[in-house]
């Protein structure tokens, strides 16, 4: 049973100050030139009010866009290798939407599948989430169709829901309790607050879609849908659950480093073999892969969906590849 409290708006700064004193970096949505970015903040008034979502997801906090895995120096006859220590700064993600908060689970499925990725794990251990329920939505959102919801608690350590004068605070996990304990005066007793969130009607049944996909592999719908797709990586890179990466070696005669960087299955050369063969040489195959990875292979392999219905891909796409629209069309194909 969650531990619920009333967190007054005016006490947010007390909480922020306590978290900062505890050595934690706070990342929150910030308004910048008409965009909402996830940036470090120190005071509650820096947090964007009235924003729906950040453009880029918060997965950067656990899976950065460029990460050093190891480095080495070369001398005649000798290689000095240093495994990089993940620079996992204690971090609090504030204001994360429930859809995104639930996305870390999908990253974890890959990063702890057969090998334990020490980098991801170190960052996740150092990460705590203060989520924010949604009182607004837009047409791109479809969290309720993929098992989530505008007030869902999965992935949050504390979930805040706006109420008059502040927030209903649900303290959900040990990490949440540890944060609340840093500013106990901010977490007042709950006088029986009602948790009011926006309604997001369910648009489709993902289990039915997963079943339907088994028969659609060779269907012409993927070629139809992907004609306008540019094959860029915008959808993959803003997505909270996309986890593909590339390993890049940057070296010269004196030494080098190995970096992990984001990659996207939408790119034309993503599956290019050294032989010259490319098993996904058309955009139709690549688009199909995106859908199947999230709605067929993830359920099959990890027992969960690879999509949280946040809609970031739809909003970021330069040519309006609206994921929900495409999924509904596929379900009816």
């Amino acid at each position: 049973m969650a531990d619920t409290h009333f967190l007054p708006q005016a006490s947010l700064d007390t909480l922020f100050a306590a978290l900062t004193r505890d050595g934690r970096r706070i990342l929150a949505p910030v308004d910048r030139d008409g965009r909402t970015e996830l940036n470090p903040v120190e005071h509650a008034d820096e947090v964007a009010s009235g924003c729906l979502q950040t453009v880029l997801s918060a997965k950067e906090a656990a899976f950065p866009k460029v990460e050093r895995l190891l480095s080495y120096t070369l001398a005649p006859g000798a290689v000095a290798l240093q495994d990089a220590e993940p620079q996992a700064r204690p971090t609090v993600l504030f204001g994360l939407r429930p859809c995104e908060a639930s996305g870390f689970r999908a990253l974890d499925a890959v990063f702890n599948w057969d090998t334990r990725d020490s980098f991801f794990n170190a960052r996740m251990t150092a990460l705590a989430v203060i989520g924010m329920s949604c009182t607004r939505r837009d047409e791109a959102c479809f969290c309720t169709s993929v098992g989530g919801g505008p007030g869902a608690t999965a992935g949050s350590d504390i979930l805040l829901t706006p109420v008059d004068g502040g927030f209903l605070a649900e303290v959900l996990t040990d990490k949440g309790r540890a944060m609340a304990a840093l500013a106990p005066e901010a977490f007042r007793p709950d006088p029986g607050l009602e948790k009011k969130v926006v309604e997001v009607p369910v648009a489709f049944d993902p289990a039915a879609l997963t079943v339907r996909l088994k028969d659609l592999f060779d269907n012409g719908i993927w070629a139809e849908q992907s004609l306008r797709c540019l094959g860029c990586g915008a959808c993959a890179f803003v997505c909270p659950t996309c986890v593909c990466f590339d390993l890049v070696e940057e070296a010269d005669a004196k030494g080098g480093r190995r970096l992990r960087t984001w990659d996207s299955c939408g790119g034309a050369r993503f599956t290019q073999h050294a032989s010259g063969h490319n098993p996904r040489s058309t955009q139709a195959q690549r688009w199909r892969q995106r859908i199947y990875h999230k709605f067929s292979y993830y359920p099959e392999r990890y027992g969960m969906l690879g999509c949280v219905g946040c809609g970031k891909c739809t909003r970021a796409c330069p040519v309006d590849m609206n994921l929900q629209e495409h999924l509904l069309a596929a379900a009816q194909a």
Partner: protein, 145 residues
């Protein structure tokens, strides 16, 4: 920047004119700043603008790009193409905020041994005053977790 800072100058020169000219500097026993590291290419027309960017990222504080005078290119027109490319690239570099004072473009012929020495000395003095191009070198370290 300390008094002991010695700039690294990378010079991209064409084989037929400037490289031969630099060789003449040597056979004429003219001394000049040893800060320069000379890279020989067949023609300035072959010089890709990325070579200059790579030189900066590898530690060059200043760059010299030099070849045959217009109308004297060993391959007839390579230097004309190079000139056009530099006119566009230098403009772009400045627009993106790179320090164009650190790149010197010149025409030095095979007969201009003394001129090569003078050019290298002038460039070395100028780049020494500008200090190391740390802004550019730091780029490789910025944005890596």
């Amino acid at each position: 920047m300390t008094d002991s800072f010695e700039p690294k100058i990378t010079a991209f020169v064409c084989n037929w004119c400037t490289y031969a000219g630099a060789d003449l500097t040597g056979t004429s026993r003219i001394k000049y700043a040893s800060n320069v590291r000379v890279l020989r290419l067949p023609c300035t027309g072959r010089i890709d603008f990325m070579l200059l960017a790579k030189a900066f990222s590898r530690g060059a504080d200043g760059i010299i790009v030099s070849g045959c005078h217009p109308n004297d290119c060993h391959y007839t027109s390579g230097n004309y193409h190079a000139r056009r490319r530099w006119m566009v690239y230098r403009d772009l570099m400045d627009f993106m905020g790179l320090d164009t004072r650190r790149i010197t473009f010149s025409w030095v012929s095979a007969a201009e041994g003394a001129r090569w020495a003078e050019l290298v000395n002038e460039v070395t003095v100028a780049v020494r005053a500008l200090g190391p191009y740390t802004d550019y070198r730091e780029l490789a370290l910025t944005g890596v977790e």
